[in-house]
Amino acid sequence: MMRFLQRSLLFALLLVGFVSADRHPLHLSSATLVQTAKNQWVLKKTLFTDDLEEAMTTMGYEPIRLSDVAHHQAKVQAYLDAYFTLYKGSGDPKTAKPIAWTLDAPYVYDPESVHIVLRFTAKPPFQVVDGTLLSTYADQKNVYSVRKSAEGWSQHAIIDADSPSFVVQ
């Protein structure tokens, strides 16, 4: 009887495991923010292609494949307009003035990742509020490295659901 129970339990556990797991998902994007001249900044951001496609689809677009770069450039721009903002100073974003940025066209596509480049003029301190993919994936992390001079990386930051912004000093 005990052997029967033991085997039943093992079978049940195997079954539970079989239906409940998913491979380790990695919801990440990475970006470098580099000051190329006085107050001139270039932000290079890499996002997983399937993650961005999923996020843009949930935003209301039809299911899209970003491989059609010319067709989707405007949609990527609209997505970033909705989820990516820069603000002057380090105070409350609700009262701070936004900083204009431009998106390079076209974005660079490969099957695994999409690379985008944003350019803007800003005097530190300023805030980066990056909500890209945060509303799609609860465990999304957007990783940043900041370089203000040739001396190396001056700042690293992680943006996630708990802290959706950071201040470039």
Partner: protein, 186 residues
């Protein structure tokens, strides 16, 4: 501690201590499940060998950046899980004091190290790699690994108080790990 070190320490720690991180988490559980806490030499040797080899693999990748197929690495990690959990089920949860588990752990550490590097490389913005980030991530992974082992030992102690033998606990955990590992393949 610098912000870079602490940020990547956190990334490394939660890369392991993550309910979705089945692959690495279950491997550690399956590896340690049958070994009694009192038999400190076998579990310390297995854990040390795994740590040494996956850290070595990450350091080699940082220096040489050997191109590896990500899909093959994922399958390799799954294979380590099948073998380790399958072994526990095959032995019906029994601890074999003479088994040189550290050799198995050491060999599989290279595969997990390649997987850690593959994930770490995604976390580092292009051109921003520094050894400080590597150190933070690696230390975080080790911390996460120790936290999983500590949690496992606590769980086993609780179940022991409830009348479960170590062997029963190991068998149940091994079966669970094998079931999940088989599911992950499909």
């Amino acid at each position: 501690m610098s912000d870079a070190l602490s940020l990547y320490l956190e990334l490394g720690f939660y890369h392991i201590v993550d309910i979705h991180a089945w692959d690495h988490l279950l491997f550690i559980v399956a590896l340690m499940a049958p070994i009694p806490l009192k038999a400190w030499k076998p579990w310390l040797a297995a854990l040390s060998a795994f740590t040494l080899t996956h850290t070595t693999a990450m350091a080699v990748q940082a220096l040489a950046d050997i191109p590896l197929n990500k899909s093959w690495i994922e399958w390799g990690v799954l294979a380590t899980l099948w073998v380790t959990a399958g072994r526990v089920v095959w032995l019906k949860g029994a601890h074999q004091p003479r088994a040189k588990l550290w050799i198995l752990a050491g060999l599989f550490g290279f595969i997990h190290g390649a997987a850690f590097w593959s994930d770490f490389a995604i976390m580092v913005p292009e051109g921003a790699f520094t050894w400080e980030l590597w150190l933070g991530f690696t230390a975080g992974v080790e911390g996460g690994q120790l936290a999983v082992v500590a949690a496992l030992f606590v769980l086993r102690a609780i179940l022991e108080q409830l009348g479960w033998s170590l062997r029963d606990t190991a068998l149940v955990l091994g079966a669970m790990c094998l079931g999940i590992a088989l599911h992950l393949a499909f």
